[in-house]
Symmetry: C4
Subunit: 281 residues, 4 copies
């Protein structure tokens, strides 16, 4: 759907996931510092399965929306009479959603009796993001300058995210990579909304001049402001989670344990989880 709603829908999906991750990963990080790893692990595994199911649901909503909006293809791909393809734009969007759905399926399979090897879920998510990136890349080759530019900025977030998730295949449960993924997902979400506002100004606002070079420059800058905002959201959520955990600890009388936290080398190949001092309150 090349209209405002067609950008707001995926934007909202990404935003929801990004903000959820910006809370979930600090939560797991802090709880691992306090408790033993195995204890809450089971709980977070269940969350991963639920995430997979939500991904599948979101992907189905997106696919159905792209196919069955009034001006959609209604599952027709080729029109025999006119000898031409039907609404390829909607079909391409459907394809993007399809891969996110597949990623959700692999997420669920990972914790099923099939025991898909760990890491395949991250690989499949990375593939889904790469597919989104490649489809957008070929998607916007023959568009007006501003349209092209605003989508090519999106590609920075998309390919950055895809490579970062690819690293997670090998450095699973690396808090730095997970927070980076969350921040890029929030960026994608807000930028989809921004694209909607720029290309399809709602409420009859003035259209943007698509060939004005100043608009291009502003949009470039605006993209990075979005990322700065995403980082501030991440820091705020991180701090909030920290405060919640601290309050919980005080109420649950877990303070004693908290003071004993030692250096945990959870991952030898990255120094990220290193905890250099004692846990002060």
């Amino acid at each position: 759907m090349a209209n405002f709603k067609g950008h707001a829908l995926p934007g909202s999906f990404f935003l929801l996931f990004g903000i959820w991750w910006s809370v979930k990963y600090p939560l797991r990080y802090f709880s691992e510092k306090v408790n033993k790893k195995s204890h809450r692990n089971h709980c977070f595994q269940r969350l991963d399965v639920i995430e997979g199911v939500v991904k599948i649901i979101f992907a189905l909503i997106g696919m159905l929306a792209e196919q069955f909006v009034p001006d959609g293809p209604h599952l027709y791909l080729y029109s025999g009479e006119e000898r031409s393809w039907v609404k390829l734009m909607n079909w391409q969007h459907t394809t993007m959603y399809l891969f996110y759905g597949l990623s959700g399926v692999v997420d669920v399979l990972t914790y099923s009796p099939l025991k898909v090897p760990l890491g395949l879920d991250r690989l499949m998510l990375s593939v889904a993001v790469f597919v989104e990136g490649f489809l957008f890349y070929y998607h916007v080759l023959h568009r007006p300058m501003l349209d092209k530019h605003i989508h090519s900025l999106l590609l920075i977030a998309v390919f950055g995210g895809a490579f970062s998730i690819l690293l997670e295949v090998f450095l699973r449960d690396n808090i730095v990579l997970e927070l980076f993924r969350a921040s890029l997902t929030i960026l994608q979400g807000t930028w989809f909304w921004q694209i909607g506002f720029v290309l399809f100004p709602p409420r009859g606002g003035p259209a943007w001049n698509e060939d004005d070079h100043d608009n291009i420059m502003f949009v470039t800058m605006c993209f990075f402001w979005h990322y700065a905002a995403a980082i501030l959201i991440m820091i705020a959520n991180y701090a909030l989670t920290y405060c919640c955990i601290q309050r919980c600890k005080r109420n649950n009388g877990e303070i004693d344990i908290g003071l004993e936290v030692r250096k945990q080398k959870s991952d030898k190949s990255s120094h990220v989880a290193l905890l250099n001092g004692s846990d002060e309150e």
Copy 2:
């Protein structure tokens, strides 16, 4: 051979290898979970040697076919009378096959008394895929738009595969990378067939309009549908292998051993082989 058969031949080679790998690697993965590593290792080493020999045979078939088809160069490279090169297209294809042959040779040498260092076989395979990629890249620079585009999509699979195999030099026997390699090889195989059908429609079907932008868009999307299909094939083969192994275990009374599987950190630098729970049936 710039015709249908010239694309179907390598397509079949890739498809055979891809599907074989999509069975072999889950098989090894499950058998390692049950038995001790060293036990079946010898068996899989022998398979590697056989694979190398098959690679050499396939490469020879390809090279001979490219040279000795009726309109081939028959090993003539330069025609002195006309002062021009002879059938360079066929020679380029011959070169691609040559490197896959060399990769087969290194595979065989790895398990010969020469004891070529482990990892060189993967490096050589990666080089062969890179060479294919570079040759295709320069190959299609001056072609019609659809021809160029359909081959450039192939490059995504080729370079993706080459980088993935390069990683295997350092992360050998990583099941995630091996399954990824298998999926990209299946993709290459089916896509070669698709290229053949699009550029040389068999049985006198209608030719594709090579400059229609809608065709380009459809082909882009179609490429990723092929990959979605490759992923489904992978999942199906994985599940089939799982069922076979489960049935074998029940018959062989190896259930007791199966229940004792512990966390095996086979590779410290990747967390892939981590087995988080007990082996349920």
Copy 3:
């Protein structure tokens, strides 16, 4: 500020940091070889916090200078009367400084009670450098040839640095990466000055012919001479630090300890800190 001072200011900031790092990291490297790691660690942690604060101050100076120079935008972004953006160039530079400021904030947070995971400070620095790179990339697309070329050379240093810092997320405290970062930062510093001298010749010197191909060739070469000079500065500072440490050791009677230095495998995933022989004087 598209003038000489607008290039000299960031050039000086980079130069200061680069030279400081070219002294700090050898110092830490030698002191770690002599003493136990934990001993001086605390001291270097405090330095990291101070560095963060200095980064914030430099970023604020840069942002204020870009906004409030006489021909700056004075915080106005959009002029309603003229229906046009105000001084976008200055706003873009402000954005670059903003991300370095954010990097400083994360540096400080890393050692605050919040306990931001280690590695995020490096990631944020890397993001700041990437943002600088992307902004410059889009910044110079429509400029004269020499201007474009001289900035695109800068991008080699910028993206090289960004990737190198990204590696430090996973290989923290790797002396080789840190020295590489220092050398590229010095290069950025001197090159900003060079850009200022070439594009805005001070004291009424002759302007450079922006379309002369020989000028382009010279500038390319000159860029690598700057890097050669940066390497020589690094070697000199390294040697000076070595001599100082040696003299300190002799005065403090730490010679005995120095002779006992053994192989320290501080980081298993890199062989950098390997000390192969005994410490000779």
Copy 4:
């Protein structure tokens, strides 16, 4: 020197180093399998210093040749009268040699009392190769098609080598990477000779048509034939070294030791040095 000798000189340098490495690294690999690591290590360290010195000498020869050939710049950079740069081509080549010289200097410093951290020598070599690559990249932008293409193929070997050496910073003494480096260096060497023969046909042979597309296609293919040849040279040298070592062992009565070789995990982060079976003769 844009003539035949100007390409033959660096070609010979690269060829010498490539062939030397293709003997040295298998030699070290086999001797490590037989003896304890520390024993022959000292000997190979001395070789590294000698290599460094040879690099410096080669770089000096190259620089002097570029400056003082009859039509060279004789160290003049800017001609005040004509207000133009003097022989920038030769100056660019001088710059390339300069970085290889610096790499030699760091090689020597690594084993000097200064104790430059291990890994910096590889980094500096990688930087030298990158500088060569970037200079060539900008060097050939405005040349005839064949000239441009034949140099751009060289860039594959150059950047491939640069990245491979960069990996060696972190995976030092990895036999696979070292053999790969050797093969790419041989390729560079033979390709420089090929460039000389194509662009400056010696003995008054016929000039190549620089705009014939068939020539481009042949040259592309020829490049990969050179690499196939380089691989065959590598295999031959590897086999020869293996035979020599085997004969030495028999003569020196070291057979007993040879039979006891066990699995040596010399490098945990790569599985390369794994020796899976017993050493058969």
